[in-house]
């Protein structure tokens, strides 16, 4: 009897769970329909408003349309974003002159709507994800007056919140606080490598200043990550440091520095790159070869040609790709095409085929 009762109770419990699930499903489905209809309605309304503003015959009617749009937005971030999205999509199809007037239009709408207050309200919510989103948007809007509030979140135990706070500060170009955040994560290697790249990419201030602050007191992993992140910006004042560290015993640092030197393509660096091209590590040899191709002197060409016979495939590939950018004589070309390294020959052939194809 006990088991039978247990079975019936179990069955009833399952029925209640199913009924609850169905109810929840129905409510969520209804909500989604409502949301979709609402989004469509907003999009439609915003399209009409944007058209009204764009084709308004007079400045007065344009301003009145903008006012109407502000009323529609009514401090709702979703409607505001829909309006901006509509303008952006019009912008994509517009010519340069129209693009300029559309950018001015966004500024006018922002004056009327005051989106900063919308996101400032969102920043006060208890949801960490909403807070994070609000901080990023405030930074997009250049709302520097909220910087101090954002700084408060920098030390949050919630990693997402701290990340978004630091990212917003990077958008403001606040090197000191960004440096504090980056130093706080320097021992987490799985996290900091990617974060450093993102931050240097997003940073709106003086990247060299930020890097100098970090170099003062960071571990070698972070130092090499920063150097790698700075490669695209070719910051001249670090060139000397790159040269000094190109013979470092720290492998990561050495690789980062040789890669950085290689992107400068300076004639004065040829000696350093020639040495790096002889290194026992293939990553360094491959980077050096790319740099030598940019220098493009007869001696650099000789080293790149030598690298075509390197024992490591990646170095041969780098050399073959690089040599196509150098001034090679018909004899060199013939040597490579008939040479023993098939990859080098095919790389040259590939480039020639593509060139020929574009001429036809």
């Amino acid at each position: 009897m006990k088991y039978e009762l247990l079975a019936v109770v179990g069955l009833l419990f399952c029925l209640i769970v199913i009924a609850f699930e169905y109810f929840l499903h129905y409510r969520l489905a209804e909500k989604q329909d409502e949301k979709e209809a609402n989004t469509k309605r907003i999009d439609h309304r915003m399209k009409i408003r944007v058209e009204g503003i764009l084709y308004a015959p007079t400045e007065v009617s344009r301003n009145s349309e903008i006012k109407k749009m502000a009323e529609d937005i009514n401090d709702d971030y979703e409607i505001y974003e829909a309006a901006i999205k509509t303008i952006e999509s019009v912008k994509e199809r517009a010519d340069e002159k129209q693009k300029e007037s559309l950018s001015k239009l966004v500024d006018k709408i922002n004056e009327e709507v005051n989106p900063v207050s919308i996101y400032a309200t969102m920043l006060e919510s208890n949801d960490v994800y909403h807070k994070g989103y609000a901080m990023r948007r405030l930074a997009d809007l250049g709302a520097i007056e909220y910087k101090e509030t954002i700084v408060e979140h920098l030390k949050s135990k919630n990693r997402d919140l701290a990340y978004n706070a630091a990212m917003s500060l990077a958008q403001f170009g606040d090197e000191e606080n960004v440096a504090v955040f980056l130093k706080s994560i320097q021992n987490d290697r799985l996290y900091s490598g990617r974060i450093i790249n993102e931050f240097f990419d997003e940073f709106k201030g003086d990247r060299a200043c930020l890097a100098k602050l970090l170099f003062k007191d960071c571990n070698s992993y972070m130092r090499s990550s920063i150097i790698k992140a700075l490669i695209p910006y070719k910051i001249e004042e670090f060139h000397k440091m790159y040269i000094e560290n190109s013979v470092s015993k720290d492998f990561r640092l050495k690789v980062a520095c040789v890669k950085a030197i290689a992107t400068f393509g300076k004639l004065e660096d040829e000696q350093v790159l020639q040495m790096a091209a002889q290194d026992k590590e293939w990553v360094i040899r491959a980077s050096a070869v790319r740099g030598l191709a940019l220098i493009n002197t007869p001696t650099a060409l000789e080293s790149v040609k030598k690298a075509l016979r390197d024992k490591e495939w990646w170095v041969r590939q780098a050399a073959a790709n690089s040599i196509t950018q150098m001034d090679i004589s018909p004899k060199d070309l013939e040597d490579i095409l008939g040479g023993y390294d098939r990859y080098a020959a095919d790389a040259i052939k590939g480039v020639l085929y593509k060139k020929l194809d574009s001429l036809q």
């Binding site: 769970v17 499903h25 489905a29 994800y129 997402d160 790249n197 993102e198 590939q317 095919d346």
Partner: protein, 470 residues
Amino acid sequence: MSFLNGVRAFIVVFNYFCMSFTILLSIIYIIQMVVSLIRVRKNYEKNFSDDFMRYEDSNNLLPISLIIPAYNEQENIVQNIRSLMKINYPSYEILVVNDGSTDKTRELVIDAFEMKPIETSIRYQIPTKQIRGVYFSQKYPNLLFVDKENGGKSDALNAGINISSYPLFTCLDADSRIEKDALLRLSIEFIKDSRTVVAGGIVRIANGSKIVDGELKGFTMPKKLVERFQIVEYYRSFLFGRVFWSATNSLLVVSGAFGLFRKQTVIDVGGYKQNTIGEDMEIVVRIHRYLRKKKIKYKVIFNELSICWTQGPMSMNDIRSQRRRWQIGLMDTLISHRVMTFNPYYGMVGMFSVPYNWIFELFGALIETIGYFLIPFSLIMGELNMFFFVMYFLLAVMLGVILSEGSLVLEQYTHRAAMSAKQSIAISIYAVLENFGYRQIISLFRLEGILKYRKLRKTWGKIKRKEFEQ
């Protein structure tokens, strides 16, 4: 008399075994459901502040090679390539590998994209059948067409890996479509955590859905029952199973239709295994095995917001062929890596995930099917308590409904459901109906896969699928 007593004793023991099996499976499913609910909810909310679209033009994303193995895909291939050209990703190349098609796949692609043969050197890091030629198009510089001798899907994928130039690659089925932002969402997993070696997305049944240029434009309920059942099945399998296994870093399968891999890891393990029909599962298990053995920290991730659409089979015959193939693939992989079973050396994968697949995914079909035949036999023998049987059956059905309906709730929660409220509620009826007939038939197909393992383990079979609505 003693024989009859023996049979009776067997029935009683088997009945108790079945009951214990069901209870254990139910507990596992409930744990999976709870973990998945928490995780999906968290991911969905986190997605708001992650604002992944910021990465759209980022230089920090790793470039991706999209490899499409194609064997007699003349119906879909051009359309598929065109849709891939519209995906939202800063840097990618498309490699179409023609695996010795006997139809017009090769001619159609070459003509449609004005491709010309080029000389290129291939670094054979993984051995494959001979590559006959590589084609390039000036008009579409990120598209390469590779023409090779027939060697099977794994061979085509390996050839694609050899030719690819980027550090990440994804294998895509020629009859699937990925959503515009799917790659962006998936590749972010690789920059969020540098330990990530594999990331898989959710595969959804496209039957009834209108997908244009990687965007869902509408849904009409598919006409056939089997298609409707598959919609429920896919939600359950992906939103519960894979989310849970990913949370414990012991996910064994990343769908062959859509998965993103770190190329060097795949090369290190020797590429896709030839002569197997479960190459998508096998490669992931081998990666687990290799990295655990080398004591390298890694992650195999499932991202439920990254979507790939696939056309599900439309007839019972095609479903039979598909499920048989899946079961054979599963069995083949488990046998190849049997050393991992209950082996603490392989952590969660060896102690939990692999044994789960042996017991519940592989032999579950066998136990379930024996149960179906033993029930009437038990009734005849007078060994079955009718009340107990009815209760047991109802509980099993209800648990199935709870799980299926739960996955539909999750799908609805993430607001990415393809259907309207009415359609969504209508489809949930099939979460109940699938327990009366469909599930049992699927069990039979899976059992057939086990029984025909030796005979069919190298046969793919062709499934007829609907073309994507344009």
